[in-house]
């Protein structure tokens, strides 16, 4: 810019009738560079460290992000596993507390107490700690104080609970020779025995059934 303006400058005074006296010396010294302060030139450094740094940040950043993501994912796996385990343990705890409740059931306790031979106390008595006086009438409990704690079995319908069947055995007919009588008696005895055993079996069965029904 400065060079072009200085190159044009001599032409302007020539076109004018009275050139300015000051312009002359300028015209006499053409192409002389105008001096001006220019900004200090920055020393050109190598770009490699910078690119290296950027590259490093990039790699570290991406790598870090990747690691972070992986770590998060890993945590999610762990969380899922721990959650499953917590659920499992909670279920177990619930099952155990259910089992405990079952043991705590008054009926279960009563059955176990009765197994140990305990009966409800029917003669309540207290010792007054103040003066050691016994209130009430203390008496030892007896086995007879036991209470039925299970329902009676349901009565069976008549069809399942038949009456005992009675079988009448005819008496041996007389008027036989002693030998015949003996032989017959033996035969009868054997037959009776067989019958008796079956009758007894039936009666016993009936007793059992009745017992259950009662």
């Amino acid at each position: 810019m400065s060079t072009t303006s200085s190159a044009r400058a001599p032409r302007r005074p020539a076109s004018r009738p009275q050139p300015r006296p000051q312009a002359r010396p300028q015209a006499r010294t053409p192409r002389r560079p105008r001096l001006a302060v220019v900004p200090e030139r920055i020393a050109r450094r190598s770009r490699v460290p910078f690119l290296g740094l950027v590259g490093l940040v990039l790699v570290l950043g991406v790598g870090g992000l990747l690691l972070f993501n992986t770590w998060m994912q890993q945590s999610a796996f762990t969380a899922t596993r721990l959650q499953d385990r917590a659920d499992d343990l909670e279920n177990r705890q619930q099952s155990l507390s259910m089992a405990l409740e079952k043991k705590n059931d008054p009926q279960e306790l009563a059955v176990r107490a009765r197994g140990l031979g305990l009966v409800p106390a029917v003669n309540p008595a207290f010792v007054r700690l103040g003066d050691g006086k016994v209130l009430g009438e203390p008496k030892a409990a007896a086995a007879g104080d036991a209470m039925r704690i299970n329902p009676r079995p349901a009565a069976k319908p008549a069809d399942l609970n038949p009456r005992p069947r009675v079988v009448r055995v005819p008496a041996p007919t007389p008027a036989l020779t002693p030998a015949q009588v003996k032989a017959k008696a033996q035969a009868d005895a054997a037959a009776k025995k067989r019958q008796a055993s079956t009758v007894q079996g039936r009666v016993q069965q009936n007793i059992q059934q009745n017992g259950n029904a009662g």
Partner: protein
């Protein structure tokens, strides 16, 4: 330039299509690709007894379901393992596992989670696929039949109008309070794991509230067993028993028999599911005499020694009143009328009260009004309006016929005498709770009012001591060793199922309290239609005695050590 513009407008059209035309469908599609919505079930509140012992509790459960397409080929093996490990029927399960053209079959519902997961694990280990678990909350009743008639069963669901179906007892009456509100959670998953920074939203569940009863579980068990033995040995239809804390009105036990196991209602009789003690009405009979005569004592018309001549029979209009025992004209005191349980004596004495006065007194004792303890379906009983009374009505109502009550009503009425003449409203719920129908009930809302004077109450308590006395009374079996006991028997005719009159069967009962001079507990036992010819004294009395004996020991109530009242019963 044109190309860029065309490209952009294409994008624009696509964006409009996505966002403008049907955004929900696309959002749903995207969600379905990876999002999971899980219901966070609210924990159903527990029902516990006064000491915190569980009567109903909820645990995580699972249902076992099968995909028959997968199970068909190994059905027998799978069914055997299931039949062994969980309580299912082998053949039934086999049929389900082999169901043709089906991809979904229920095998068993409400299995405890540990059991369900264990059995599925076992099946998978054996290389048998096709059986899965799905969450299915499980309600258990660890004490089984204990307080079952009160606790009831959880409703199966709600119908279109929001009304619960299939429930019973407190579980049904307090369903809203117990059930809470389910929450919801939506999150994205990849391969079974939650995606860390994926979309998620959570609505937390609101757990149901616990319901604490005034019932004492162990006592309730004992009362139920005593009641069952009384019903069974007298070959009766049913029975109810109530134990009340005299001062507070808290119901420590309310037992019914027959009852059921709420863990398995499939075999239960529908009529056993509710509480007979509150839902059924009956005529109380002679126990009512203590109410009539204490009203007379309160009005100053009688004293325990007032002399009465009791004729062999009493004609009123075209009806004749008899006593339960044949007698010539006898000379009884008021105490004797109670001790010997004379209908004629009571009817004659009651003539000193006007219809209105008697009605007012009985009403004040709580007859004809619901106790409102929170149980569904409670009956108010029937105390006919005095305006319509004929002389015969006045006479029979005086000794407890022609008036109907429920068991808890009658127990509260007798408790008034134990409590020095002040009626205290019974309660079943500790604290305060609101039923689904909006009633607020519980011990916080206990009310009380004076019915008769303290003097009249104490006189009546002494008169009632003559009932368990073997020399004077009708119920020697009701004595409690070492204690003073007041009580009254009741043997009433029952109205037949057709409602047309008495059918020849009886309601027998015994109500009383101990210690007589410083009452702590009121116990009332009622047995319907005994077939062994027993009465209130021989069936109700011994049951009352057993319950009181247990109760007084359990709560550490020592005998008062004072001498029993000895009032003359005749002159």
């Amino acid at each position: 330039m044109v190309v860029v513009a065309m490209g952009l407008s294409l994008f624009g059209v696509r964006a409009f299509q996505l966002q403008g035309l049907d955004p929900k469908a696309y959002a749903a599609q995207a969600e379905a690709a990876g999002a999971v919505t899980a219901v966070l079930p609210a924990r159903r509140g527990e029902i516990v007894d006064r000491k915190g012992g569980a009567l109903a509790e909820s645990v995580d459960g699972d249902m076992l379901v099968a995909d028959p397409a997968q199970t068909k080929d190994h059905a027998a093996q799978i069914a055997r393992i299931l039949a062994d490990d969980i309580d299912v029927d082998y053949f039934d399960t086999l049929t389900r596992l082999e169901k043709p053209k089906s991809r979904f079959q229920y095998l068993q519902r409400r299995v405890p989670s540990t059991v369900a997961t264990a059995v599925v694990k076992k099946l998978n280990k054996a290389g048998l696929a096709g059986v899965y678990t799905k969450p299915d909350p499980l309600r258990t009743y660890p004490a089984k039949d204990v307080a079952a008639n009160l606790v009831g069963v959880q409703a199966q669901g709600r119908d279109d109008k929001g009304k619960i179906t299939g429930g019973a007892g407190l579980e049904s009456a307090f369903d809203h309070l117990l059930s809470g509100k389910d929450g919801k959670e939506t999150y994205e998953v990849g391969d079974g794991n939650r995606i860390p920074l994926g979309d998620n939203s959570t609505v937390k569940p609101v757990d149901g509230k616990d319901l604490k009863l005034t019932i004492d579980r162990d006592l309730q068990w004992y009362v139920q067993r005593v009641l069952r033995n009384a019903v069974e040995s007298s070959r009766s239809d049913s029975g109810s028993a109530v134990v009340m804390d005299t001062k507070t009105g808290q119901v420590l036990s309310l037992a019914d028999y027959p009852t059921f196991d709420p863990n398995d209602t499939s075999t239960a009789d529908k009529s056993d599911l509710g509480s007979r003690a509150l839902q059924d009405v009956y005529e109380p009979g002679s126990v009512s005499k203590v109410l009539t005569l204490s009203s007379l004592l309160d009005e100053g018309r009688l004293t325990p020694e007032t002399k009465l001549v009791v004729p062999p029979q009493l004609d009123i209009g075209d009806r004749t009143i008899h006593d339960w025992f044949d007698h010539p004209a006898i000379h009884l005191t008021t105490t004797g009328v109670i001790a010997r349980s004379s209908n004629i004596g009571t009817a004659l004495a009651s003539r000193q009260l006007s219809d209105e006065d008697m009605w007012q007194h009985l009403r004040s004792f709580g007859l004809g009004t619901r106790t409102e303890v929170g149980m569904p379906g409670e009956t108010r009983g029937l105390l006919p309006d005095w305006h319509g009374w004929q002389p015969i009505n006045h006479a029979t109502i005086a000794f407890g016929q022609g008036v109907s009550v429920n068991t808890l009503q009658m127990a509260s009425a007798v408790n008034t005498i134990a409590n020095g003449g002040t009626y205290v409203s019974p309660s079943l719920i500790e604290g305060s709770a609101t039923t689904d129908s909006g009633e607020t009930v519980g011990t916080d809302h206990t009310t009380s009012h004076r019915v008769i004077s303290a003097k009249a109450a104490s006189q009546m308590a002494q008169m009632m001591e003559m009932v368990p006395n073997p020399e004077t009374g009708t119920a020697p079996g009701a004595q409690v060793n070492g204690y003073r006991v007041s009580g009254k028997t009741g043997t009433a005719q029952r109205v037949g199922a057709d409602g047309k009159g008495y059918d020849g069967t009886f309601t027998v009962s015994f109500a009383g309290f101990a210690p007589a001079d410083k009452p702590r507990f009121t116990v009332y036992v009622v047995v319907q239609n005994p077939r062994n010819g027993g009465g209130g004294g021989s069936i109700g009395g011994p049951a009352f005695s057993k319950i009181q004996t247990y109760l007084l020991q359990r709560y550490g109530v020592a005998p008062t050590g004072t001498k029993s009242a000895a009032l003359p019963i005749d002159w």
